[in-house]
């Protein structure tokens, strides 16, 4: 057995243990902390599966952003004093048995792959050069399955609309209730002053390098969103009221540009979301740059939650 497979087995054991503990620990706070650790371990698993783009997304969004979102929810709910309703023992046993059946079914599928594994990798590599991109995953996201990526942006916007519309009437158009610390500590302010310049450069770099290496709009946008949230949490800048025009403009800029280029594809190329010959690379870079900004704003506002205070004039 090679060192790599020993590492893989240890990693899987650790992922399963941490994953189970997010379910089994008593307090919600401990569960959320476990979940953040779980996200980071999972991103190592993605590296082992040779999917570095996915690993970056998982670490940034799956572990980091979701962890932040859940931590904020725990801090706001403070549900420690809730009478702990426990599900009865027979139900747990039945649920456990049924879940074991599901796992067994999936395991059978995993252990019996089809004789000829279907793959689209050769087709992707064959058609990648005309787009000018070097990263096949970026090629799939922005060329071959651009419609998916466009619709995904719309889903994120819809989710944000949903979150916003859950605000009480008096707070509509106001500022999100992202107020973790009443009085931020000096170390946090120090970090919020020192880190954002580095983080912004890093986010832009991730977006730029995504054309030929792992990285891209999602990952870069998440880093930018994290920097913005850090500045807000440290109290250096207020969270914007959601009625601000610039905020809404930034939110829709990326998807709108994407859609406009897609529609132009009907005129200048032969299909919706098709890029005209020779212009693919600059168009994709333009879309990706604008999308990075839109994603950053959308993710940050999603993490900040619904508006809670009316807008102060």
């Amino acid at each position: 057995m090679s060192i790599a497979s020993v590492f893989d087995i240890a990693l899987v054991a650790l992922i399963l243990a941490i994953g189970a503990s997010t379910i089994l620990v008593r307090t919600a706070f401990a569960a959320v902390v476990m979940f953040a650790v779980y996200g980071l371990l999972l991103s190592i698993a993605w590296v082992r599966l040779h999917a570095v783009d996915v690993a970056l997304t998982e670490a940034a969004i799956g572990g980091g952003m979701t962890g932040l979102l859940l931590l904020g929810a725990v801090a706001r709910s403070r549900s420690d004093d809730v009478d702990r309703v426990r599900v009865g023992y027979p139900v747990r046993l039945a649920a456990g048995g049924l879940c074991a059946l599901v796992v067994a079914g999936l395991a059978i599928v995993v252990l019996h792959p089809p004789a000829a594994v279907p793959t689209l990798a050769p087709v992707v590599m064959e058609n990648l050069p005309p787009s000018g991109l070097g990263n096949p995953v970026a090629g799939v996201l922005f060329v071959f399955r651009a419609l998916d990526t466009l619709l995904e942006k719309v889903v994120v916007l819809l989710a944000l609309l949903g979150v916003w519309s859950l605000a009480p009437d008096r707070a509509w158009g106001g500022t999100p209730g992202l107020q973790v610390y009443a009085k931020p500590d000096p170390p946090l302010i120090f970090l919020a002053q020192l880190l954002p310049p580095v983080g912004i450069v890093f986010g832009i770099y991730m977006c730029w390098v995504g054309a030929k290496d792992p990285g891209g709009a999602f990952q870069g946008g998440t880093v930018l969103a994290a920097m913005w949230l850090l500045v807000i949490v440290a109290g250096l800048q207020k969270a914007p009221a959601i009625s601000r025009l610039w905020l809404r403009g930034l939110l829709i800029a990326g998807p709108m540009l994407f859609l406009a280029i897609g529609l132009a594809g009907w005129v200048f190329a032969d299909a919706f979301l098709a890029y005209p010959e020779g212009y693919a690379k600059p168009l994709i870079v333009a879309v990706e740059a604008t999308l990075t900004l839109s994603i950053a704003v959308a993710l940050a506002m999603l993490a900040a939650g619904p508006p809670e205070r009316a807008q102060q004039q």
Binding site: V12, I23, A28, L49, M125, V155, L160
Partner: protein, 112 residues
């Protein structure tokens, strides 16, 4: 057994763990967590499929990989929406649990 199969089995087990948590835990926040766990298990199954389909000099099939990236972002958006819903529910009702009052054993269908 190769690494792809190993991580595929890990994904299968995570689906089971997530499903169990989703059914047995009455707190909505914990249900959301469990649902994320279930989702990441499914993503790992996709990762296994991508890795097995490695060809043309790539470490994996980029199509499932790109789909997982999209899925992770959508899962985050859904989680944010679910948390906002749960918080609004808690604000309105003052309860942090969606378990029914009459019986503490029936909570199976109460998905968050």
């Amino acid at each position: 057994m190769n690494a792809a199969t190993l991580f595929g089995l890990c994904g299968a087990a995570l689906v089971g763990i997530g499903l169990y948590g989703l059914i047995t835990n009455p707190e909505p926040l914990r249900k959301i967590l469990a649902f994320n766990l279930l989702g990441s298990g499914v993503f790992l199954l996709f990762g296994m499929i991508a890795r097995r389909a490695a060809a043309a000099g790539l470490g994996g099939d980029p199509v499932p990989q790109a789909m997982v990236i999209t899925a992770i972002v959508v899962a985050f958006a859904a989680t944010a929406m679910a948390i906002a819903l749960v918080q609004r529910l808690a604000d309105e009702t003052g309860r942090a649990s969606i378990s029914s009052d009459s019986s503490d054993a029936v909570d199976g269908e109460g998905k968050s």
